[in-house]
């Protein structure tokens, strides 16, 4: 039996979490060390996975398939292909960097790192599971630590934000559970295997049935993405969550919803996916434009970044709706890029908040002179987020729009406005925070320190590298995307 790489990736954090439970709670250095080592090992393993991955193949690789509950045909089935590999690397990278970013947390550290690691296992498992039951288990496992992480270490309205997040996501996912059960009983022989269900070997589902099941999954995924009008939990959760948790929330949790569309809704429910293409495009448009306008109205730095996430995830919806290879590639790449860029932006907001204890954009000004390194890094991430060519955000937004243009010209044309608005609010933010006369309150503010820089530099490197040479990640995903489009019957453009 080969080394179970994917199991190791998934359960390494949980194992470390259990070890942490056994460590006395005043040994905080040891606790941090264990957590950092575990997330570091996951990162190394995920790089091993990247190097061992054959990107000419669209099949599942490193698969592990064991029988778990044979009476109802549930399997412990993990695997990675071009669709999930980028997201797993993203999770491993952000998981490690946010762990280093968590050193600023001084309260109840033992509980914090245990929950943090449990969260990591849930996220990684969600992207690796190929059995719908297993997928659901990991999906729900994410909820509980997230509730505590926001609720205990969050800001002033943490209790409200935490329970709102919990209830919203649970409300969506229980309908997903019903859809999973409906698929199980409609397939012949009954199975939870995503690949089998997508292959058509278990029977072809009627269109009406597909539409209902699709709607059930949609509730689960759309709340996570979040698609308008289910996005209202997001600004609350983001604003209240501590910085490292905001990073994972924006960087990884939102991608779970988008990944669900790629892995489950589209391949298994093809007819419904085509049926819902137009609504998807319209929702994508609303997300892009509405999210951008709301972001522009924010004075809270963190809330602005949160709403910019709503806007950026709209490109994922638009790319999906296009049913083209370009659009799908763009949507998937947009998820990865958004994770890196917004993760970085949340870290930067945290850097400022740790020093100033406020996030009110209007209270800053002229920080560029006092914090030159910070100003440089913030500018790079901001420009990447608003889609400057040469940085990663541009590539994926451009591809999503290009794909969208083939299928929905008018909607795409209006969506482009979103980029202009995005440029508007980001540049306006730069102007108010970094430029202008220095606000006297911040004369003693110190520049970004080495640890903070350590968490940001790798992200910045990825942003620039993908912006200059996008093939290095597109290569991984293109074979799987081409096969997916072919299976769905989309446009091979």
């Amino acid at each position: 039996m080969p080394f179970p790489l994917l199991t190791a990736i998934t359960f390494m954090p949980l194992l470390a979490g259990i070890i942490i439970l056994l460590v006395p709670k005043n040994r905080t250095g040891l606790i941090k060390g264990i957590a950092t080592a575990a997330t570091g090992i996951v990162l190394v393993l995920s790089i091993l996975m990247l190097t061992g991955f054959d990107y000419n193949s669209s099949a599942m690789q490193f698969s592990e398939n064991l029988s778990w509950i044979p009476q109802v045909n549930i399997n412990y089935h993990l695997g990675v292909d071009g669709i999930s590999i980028g997201l797993i690397f993203l999770t491993a990278l952000l998981g490690f960097l946010a762990c280093v970013g968590s050193y600023g947390i001084k309260e109840r550290q033992k509980e914090y790192y245990f929950l943090y690691l449990l969260l990591n296992t849930g996220m990684l498992g969600t992207f690796l599971a190929l059995d719908l039951f297993l997928f659901y288990v990991f999906w729900e496992v994410v909820l509980v630590p997230m509730y505590f992480l926001i609720g205990i270490w969050g800001g002033p309205r943490k209790e409200y934000a935490a329970i709102k997040f919990f209830i919203y996501t649970l409300a969506g996912s229980v309908f997903m559970l019903l859809s999973i059960l409906a698929l199980y009983f409609a397939s012949q022989p009954h199975t939870f295997n995503m690949l089998e269900l997508a292959s058509g070997n278990c029977g072809v589902f009627a269109k009406g049935f597909q539409i209902i099941v699709f709607a059930g999954f949609y509730l689960g995924f759309a709340i996570k993405v979040p698609v308008f009008p289910f996005h209202t939990w997001l600004p609350d959760a983001h604003v209240e969550a501590p910085t490292p948790i905001s990073v994972l929330l924006a960087g990884v949790l939102l991608k779970m919803g988008g990944y669900g569309f790629f892995r489950i809704s589209y391949p298994i429910l093809k007819d419904a996916a085509i049926y819902f293409a137009l609504p998807f495009a319209i929702l994508g448009l609303i997300n892009i434009v509405y999210g951008a306008f709301v972001a522009m109205a924010q004075t809270d730095f963190k809330k602005m970044v949160a709403y910019s996430s709503v806007s950026h995830m709209g490109f994922v919806m638009l790319g999906l709706a296009s049913m083209t290879i370009t659009g799908f590639n763009g949507a998937l790449l947009q998820m990865f890029n958004h994770g890196i860029i917004t993760g970085g932006l949340f870290l930067l907001v945290g850097v400022l908040y740790d020093r100033a204890h406020t996030r009110d954009i209007d209270k800053f000004g002229g920080l560029g002179a006092k914090m030159p390194v910070y100003a440089g890094v913030l500018t790079v991430f901001t420009l990447a987020s608003l889609g400057l060519p040469g940085l990663s955000g541009f590539v994926s937004e451009f591809m999503s729009l290009m794909g969208g243009f083939i299928s929905f010209r008018l909607i795409t044309a209006i969506s482009v406005l979103g980029i202009v608005i995005t440029a508007g609010y980001f540049l306006y933010m730069i102007q108010r925070v970094l430029l202008g006369p220095l606000n006297n309150a911040w004369t003693g503010i110190s520049d970004i320190n080495k640890r903070e820089l350590f968490t940001l530099v790798p992200l910045m490197a990825v942003v620039i590298a993908i912006g200059v040479y996008p093939l290095m990640i597109l290569n991984y995903q293109s074979a799987a995307i081409a096969k997916l489009i072919q299976d769905i019957g989309g446009l091979l453009l």
Binding site: I69, E140, V141, Y147, G151, L177
Partner: protein, 473 residues
């Protein structure tokens, strides 16, 4: 089977009955609840070892009064599990004094015998008698804290509702006797299949019997006794009431309705479906604003019964398996939660949810256990409560009861409000006191058994599903 031949299959009950009397007498000399409790536990273990392990029905006992089949054996084992855990947490319950421990255990062991008889009854009169025995013992146990007014009030309420509903049930049984000329369930089944029956009269009598059993399972509208009784009764007894009689109620429901009266399925299924939806919805909504944790768990147990009822309404093999699996999970998580409530009460002398503030700082292990039990009750994977719900919903979807499944999942979201409220107080709020009481080992043991149980049967349900599959009617 004749009486003498039946005795061989009746050993577990005899052991318990013997132990009940022994502990009553021993209680006169040994005034120590731990020692007497250990005696009872020994009897329970001995009783489990003497189970006949009849994985196939071996036929009627005692002139058709009882039946010895694997289905009844499953519920007997559940009874013994409940009793074992209840005795363990009773030993750790402070308000129970050593003086009256003998009587207390005598009553509990007698209740165990009555429950085992009820699970195995194959005759309506036998069912009635054993249920009445469970009820009478429960009334006394509820009032066991003689000097506590709310304990007495709880028992009186319980008694009034109980007599009413058993009266209704007896009335229903009299109709059945009028229709079939017998109370023997096997004879009724064959009569129903061969010659048919007056549908209206039979439906009315079934509804009356269902009403009587609804009281035991605490289904709406026969739930009114629950909040006050749960709040006022000694906490180990609350744990017992929420788990034991409820499991037995479901066993009898399945036996009467899904085995013997299955040909009349369409006549009653709509009513029971409505009861299920109303029970879980009302239970959950009423639980949200409770301030006393025992009251809240009372309403929660009403809602849980509503979920279990889904499997019963569906009535397929998967549905019955779901009911049985859910009952194992429910017993463990509910008694576990009440065990934690007892330990908290021992140190802060209050059952008020707000007093749970900061429990995670004061008693991290206890707060962790209670959190796991509550999350399991809320149905969060990978805990046992989730897999129970999963099976129940699967059964509903398989048989196209979409309304029930949708009502079930909406309710699971609703329920999160009040389960998480307790967790919120324990973890998100600051502690108000720093009182710390030593925790008695038996109660800790019960909590650990329940905790490991819900993790194991949630993560590795295979052997349990096999066990249930072998225990179907």
């Amino acid at each position: 089977m004749s009486v003498s031949a039946s005795i061989g299959y009746f050993l577990p009950e005899l052991i318990l009955a013997g132990a009940a009397i022994a502990v009553l007498i021993a209680g006169l000399f040994i005034r120590n609840k731990a020692v007497l409790g250990a005696l009872c536990l020994a009897a329970i273990i001995l009783s489990i070892c003497n189970m006949p392990h009849s994985f196939q029905a071996t036929g009627p006992l005692f002139s058709n009064m009882l039946i010895n089949d694997s289905f009844s054996e499953f519920f007997k084992e559940i009874t013994l599990l409940v009793m074992g855990l209840v005795i363990l947490i009773s030993i750790g319950y402070k308000p129970l004094d050593d003086e009256s421990a003998g009587e207390y255990y005598f009553l509990l062991m007698s209740a165990a015998v009555a429950m085992m008889l009820a699970a195995a009854s194959d005759n309506l009169i036998m069912i009635y008698i054993s249920l009445e025995a469970i009820s009478l013992i429960s009334y006394i146990l509820t009032a066991f804290l003689k000097h506590n007014r709310s304990s007495s009030e709880a028992a009186l309420k319980y008694f009034l509702f109980g007599t009413l509903s058993t009266g209704v049930m007896l009335y229903g049984i009299s109709f059945i006797y009028g229709l079939f000329g017998t109370t023997d369930l096997s004879a009724i089944s064959s009569a129903l299949l061969s010659s048919g029956v007056n549908g209206l009269a039979a439906s009315v009598s079934l509804i009356l019997i269902f009403a009587g059993l609804s009281f035991k399972c605490a289904l709406i509208p026969f739930h009114m006794w629950v909040p006050d009784t749960y709040q006022g009764a000694p906490t180990p007894i609350t744990a017992f009431l929420s788990a034991g009689p409820k499991a037995i109620g479901f066993a009898i429901l399945i036996r009467i309705f899904l085995k013997n009266f299955f040909p009349m399925f369409p006549d009653w299924v709509d009513i029971v479906q409505a009861v299920s939806i109303i029970t879980m919805t009302a239970g959950n909504i009423l639980a949200i604003n409770q301030e006393d944790i025992k009251r809240m768990l009372g309403y929660s147990s009403i809602a849980q019964a509503g979920y279990i009822l889904i499997g019963f309404v569906v009535g397929t093999s998967l549905g019955i398996q779901a009911v049985m699996y859910y009952i194992i999970a429910y017993v463990l998580m509910n008694i576990g939660a009440f065990g934690c409530v007892i330990l908290v009460f021992n140190s802060i002398k209050s059952d008020c949810i707000e007093e749970y503030s900061g429990l995670s700082r004061r008693e991290p292990a206890l707060a962790f256990c209670l959190t796991v039990f509550l999350l399991s009750l809320a149905g969060i994977p990978p805990l046992a409560g989730f897999f129970g719900k999963f099976m129940v919903f699967a059964a509903a979807i398989q048989s196209k009861y979409y309304m029930l499944a949708i009502a079930g999942v909406i309710n699971s979201v609703l329920a999160v409000f009040y389960y998480v409220k307790v967790i919120k107080f324990m973890y998100l709020n600051d502690p108000r006191t720093s009182v710390k009481e030593p925790k008695p080992f038996p109660a800790k043991l019960a909590i650990i058994i329940a905790l490991i149980g819900i993790l194991v049967i949630g993560l590795f349900p295979v052997p349990f599903i096999n066990w249930i599959g072998n225990s179907l009617l």
